[in-house]
């Protein structure tokens, strides 16, 4: 039952995020926009490029969607509205999202096309930057909650949300999440205007629709992760728990989409340099900070 | 106990801050070492009555780290702190306008912190850690001007020498901890019997490496390529002193045989290094050789059974030698070199610096009433009073004589000759450091003997014969050095002394050459014996066959020939195994592993 409810919430969230993305790009709020685009995509022929690596080509959009859904499955919307409340949930989110990179790699290699391949390898490079800080940020979260279980992570923030408790970790995780969802300014794998859509370039029709859906679900899942890890999840006065989760998740998604619009796209080398020279030290500092606060508070 | 810990932590914090801020390195280093000085002085006052403070910090499971401030360690800590502080004061001037100041001052502070940790360590684990950190920081500081030619080699050489000898310390600690069941230092010193002898010998090796005793003395002179403040610190109170400190602290452990060995090694060093100092053509290298010699005298005192004499000499020598190095640094800045021929007359041009240098030098030689007189007197008396006096006393006297001679030679070279020299940058800071330490070198003599007695509860050895003989040797040496022209002083010994008696020992013979020889032997074994064995087996068989043909043309002929052919083919096969093809060798490795597994299983089943 709760699985169906979460799935419905996920789809609704993905739709709303698609609306938000359109708004952040064009400045116009068109509630029907995503539906129209989806219908158009599904109506079109799904062209297959010449000499693709068929297995990888077909599997990539599905893997992207599945990994995003799996990540969302362990994130609680309310104390009981969670598909699987794993004892290692916080780590599982990251494990599932690691396969986003694999999916993009497959989408890059599969069609046997230059732009797509460049974009796929680019994302691997981007991963080398963000993957370490994101795990370190999660480690600091788990330190405070004394558990990797996501419901306990939320419960640990009853007094003070983690965004205020460990602001450095919040910033690191937020930016890493943007990298992971390849949102601008970290949108190297799609790079509109430079690589003609990158990993998406060779996809069309229904396959492209699945890929777009996967990306939207990915953004929702990451926003939900930020909400659960740093903004106290369902906690909040007056409104029912699921409503707080929804509001916070959408707000995070809007913030992520908007933030990128005002920054030019970063080059690969810049992304790596920033993450390694600044991101990792900051993430370590955050762990240290949380450890000190925990020891002092005891 | 927090006070004693501050003595370590303050310089350490300074080093960390310097590296983090990368600004104001000199001020931070001054503040750190100054705070350390205050802390260790306070500690010394606190424990002066014979009290002892200790703290246990969490360390490895079952092996906590302990700090121990008792009179002995507190005194050593004070020596380190005083010298460290004034050397840093001096270095502020010395490093003015030079590059790499951040690295330099961070290294100096770290060095002082590591040395404080060493002297205040109450257990072997912490001592070992500090010992290694000293090695590391001295490597970094000696190699400070790593862009110059020969500097990296010298730093590596110093590191390797001391590291090699450090193996002795490791082994000794294993022996002691295994025997006593605790890592705390004081209980392990009660160890007796064969374990004590073994541990004592190993400790002696470690101390000889760090204190640059014959035959491991070569690295110290090469280490002179580091900046002069580094040399001053290295020689007076830190790296080199660590060896002597180790011997002084563990002297209750040492058995008579080890003591005799220590005394002989020290005496030999005092003699040989003194000769080297007499022959040196570079002021800093002369001082380095003299350091070896003075630590030789301390080891001799330990060997003679009077570690308190060694201790007071260590303290006095710390002040003296740092003052000498600081003076030589001023001359170096004035003339742009430390070669003695270029320094001629440098003293006359800078009389105040020369005064400080001369006071320290005369103190080193043992002229009353300067500090060196008292401490050297104590060492001589110890040597005369020891059961091995016939062996040790002449060595000690010779060392004293040579000390006087090379001090006089250095002073003479600096004073005679044309005086000139430009202004020196940062002279004020350098002068302050030099003045303070020279003052200490002069005055410490009045304070040291009573302090030594008070702190350790032992009597300083005394003896009229020793005093008279020592004074005679000192004055004779001074006269010799001042009056006898340089090139006639050493006679036939001059050439080997100039080479630093290197062929007699050193890293190259002890470490590098055996390793290289081993490698060569292995190579020879591989392409000589293995191949040759395979081939010569075939060849031998052929020879046998040929011989047998002579005796029996037909019958056995074919048999022998086929045997020879078979042997040769077998040899060829054996060679083919080494194809250099990774997959073949992997297959062999897998087969070997399988075979090993079978053998082990059978072995396990059999038991």
């Amino acid at each position: 039952m709760s699985a169906l409810a979460v799935l419905a919430a996920l789809l609704a969230g993905a739709y709303l995020v698609a609306v938000l993305e359109g708004w952040s790009a064009t400045g116009r709020l068109r509630p029907a926009g995503p539906a129209v685009s989806a219908a158009a995509l599904l109506g079109r022929e799904s062209v297959v490029p010449r000499r693709p690596d068929r297995v990888l080509f077909e599997a990539a959009p599905l893997l992207l969607l599945v990994s995003a859904v799996l990540a969302a499955a362990v994130l609680p919307l309310s104390p009981r509205l969670v598909v699987a409340d794993l004892a290692t949930g916080a780590l599982f989110v990251n494990a599932a999202l690691a396969y986003v990179m694999v999916a993009l790699l497959m989408a890059g290699w599969g069609p046997d096309a230059a732009y797509a391949m460049v974009a796929g390898w680019r994302f691997l490079g981007q991963l080398l930057g963000y993957s370490m800080p994101i795990v370190m940020a999660i480690a600091a979260i788990a330190m405070r909650a004394e558990s990797l279980r996501n419901t306990e992570v939320v419960a640990s923030q009853a007094a003070l949300p983690n965004a205020l408790y460990q602001p450095v970790g919040f910033a690191v995780f937020f930016l890493a999440a943007m990298c992971l969802a390849f949102l601008p300014p970290f949108d190297l794998p799609t790079a509109p205007g430079e690589l003609a859509g990158g990993v998406e370039a060779e996809y069309a029709g229904a396959r492209l629709a699945v890929m777009r859906l996967g990306r939207m679900v990915l953004v929702v899942a990451l926003s939900a992760a930020v909400t659960v890890f740093y903004l106290g999840g369902w906690l909040g006065p007056a409104l029912p728990p699921w409503a707080w989760s929804a509001i916070k998740t959408l707000a995070v998604a809007a913030a992520m989409l908007l933030a990128g619009r005002y920054v030019p796209r970063l080059r690969e080398a810049q992304v790596l340099a920033w993450w390694w020279k600044l991101g990792i030290p900051l993430a370590l500092l955050n762990i240290f900070w949380v450890g000190v606060v925990l020891l002092v508070a005891e | 106990m927090i006070l004693a810990a501050t003595a370590i932590l303050a310089p350490l914090a300074a080093a960390a801050l310097i590296l983090a801020l990368r600004r104001l390195p000199a001020a931070l280093a001054l503040a750190g070492t100054g705070a350390g000085l205050a802390a260790s002085a306070a500690t010394l006052l606190r424990v002066a009555g014979g009290a002892s403070l200790s703290a246990t910090l969490p360390g490895l499971p079952g092996l906590p780290l302990r700090l121990l401030a008792e009179p002995l360690t507190a005194l050593l800590s004070a020596v380190v702190a005083v010298v460290g502080f004034f050397v840093v004061v001096y270095a502020v001037g010395y490093m003015e306008g030079e590059g790499g100041r951040v690295r330099f001052f961070a290294g100096m502070s770290f060095f002082v912190a590591a040395m404080q940790a060493l002297v205040l360590a109450g257990d072997w684990v912490l001592l070992l850690a500090a010992w290694e950190l000293i090695g590391l920081s001295s490597y970094l500081l000696i190699g400070h001007r790593h862009e110059r030619e020969g500097v990296p080699q010298a730093a590596t050489r110093a590191f390797l020498y001391t590291r090699t000898a450090d193996l002795g310390l490791y082994a000794a600690i294993f022996v002691l901890v295994a025997h006593a069941g605790t890592s705390e230092i004081s209980p392990t010193l009660q160890t007796g019997g064969a374990a004590a002898t073994a541990a004592g010998l190993l400790l002696l090796v470690a101390a000889m490496g760090k204190s640059a005793q014959t035959p491991l003395q070569g690295w110290l002179q090469d280490a002179m390529v580091g900046p002069t403040p580094v040399s001053a610190l290295l020689h007076s109170a830190t790296l080199v002193a660590a060896g002597a400190i180790l011997m002084i602290r563990t002297s209750p452990l040492l058995s008579p045989a080890v003591l005799l060995l220590a005394g002989l090694a020290g005496g030999a060093t005092a003699l040989l290094a003194g000769l080297v100092a007499l022959a040196e053509r570079d002021l800093k290298r002369l001082l380095a050789a003299s350091t070896s010699a003075q630590y030789g005298l301390m080891l001799l005192a330990v060997g003679a059974g009077s570690s308190v004499a060694a201790l007071v000499h260590l303290a006095a020598h710390a002040a003296i030698k740092s003052a000498l190095f600081l003076g030589s640094g001023v001359f170096q800045h004035a003339r742009g070199s430390t070669r003695l021929d270029r320094l001629e007359g440098a003293g006359r041009a800078r009389p105040r610096t020369f005064l400080g240098f001369a006071v320290a030098g005369l103190a080193l030689a043992g002229v009353p009433p300067l500090s060196g007189y008292f401490t050297k007197d104590a060492i001589l008396a110890a040597a005369f009073g020891s059961p091995y006096a016939p062996l040790l006393a002449p060595l000690a006297l010779a060392g004293t004589l040579l000390t006087g001679a090379y001090v006089a030679r250095a002073l003479g070279l600096l004073w005679r000759g044309a005086g000139a020299g430009g202004p020196v940058k940062g002279a004020r800071w350098m002068g302050a450091g030099l003045a303070a330490l020279a003052l200490l070198a002069a005055a410490l003599g009045l304070a040291v003997p009573p302090i030594g007695e008070l702190l350790t509860g032992q009597e300083l050895p005394e003896g009229a014969l020793a005093t008279v003989a020592g004074l005679a040797a000192t004055l004779g040496g001074l006269a010799l050095g001042w009056l006898v022209p340089e090139d006639r002083m050493l006679g036939p010994l001059r050439a080997p002394a100039e080479r630093g008696f290197r062929p007699g020992g050193g890293l190259d013979a002890l470490v590098a050459r055996p390793a290289l020889a081993l490698g060569r032997a292995a190579a020879r074994f591989d392409d000589g014996v293995v191949h040759a064995a395979v081939l010569s087996a075939g060849r031998a068989a052929l020879a046998v066959a040929a011989a047998s043909r002579l005796t029996d043309e037909r019958g056995i002929d074919a048999l022998v020939l086929s045997l020879a052919r078979g042997t040769r083919r077998l040899g060829g096969r054996a060679r083919e195994l080494q194809t250099g093809l990774v997959h073949r060798e992997l297959l062999l490795a897998a087969g070997g592993a399988a075979l090993m597994l079978v053998v082990l299983t059978i072995g396990a089943a059999g038991t």
């Binding site: - | 250099g580 997959h583 060798e585 897998a590």
Partner: protein, 102 residues
């Protein structure tokens, strides 16, 4: 108990496949893949033994972590050597690497 036998059988077969790969491939990176498979088989066995025989001793899990570390090490060093080799010779084919010939 059945599950233990299943896991051990899987471990055995995986090890065999990995050994075959390490021995039969001509390319350095492919050889590394075979080694990784063998290490994976070792991990399967370790987890199975921990789970079904000694779940109270966490040294078993600890050992799995160490094996994961070893895998990462193997990758790092292997690729380091591979890169150096590629720079020098333009290929990582192991049949061309005969410098160790006796």
């Amino acid at each position: 108990m059945m599950a233990l036998y299943v896991a051990l059988a899987v471990g055995a077969v995986l090890f065999g496949v990995g050994l075959y790969g390490a021995l039969s491939q001509t390319n350095l990176v492919m050889i590394m893949m075979g080694v990784e498979l063998m290490l994976g088989a070792a991990m399967v066995n370790l987890v199975a033994f921990w789970r079904f025989l000694h779940p109270e001793t966490y040294a078993g899990q600890m050992f799995v972590l160490v094996v994961m570390t070893v895998m990462a090490l193997e990758m790092a060093v292997g690729f380091g050597v591979g890169t150096a080799r590629f720079r020098a010779k333009g290929s990582v084919e192991m049949e061309e690497a005969r410098e160790l010939r006796g």
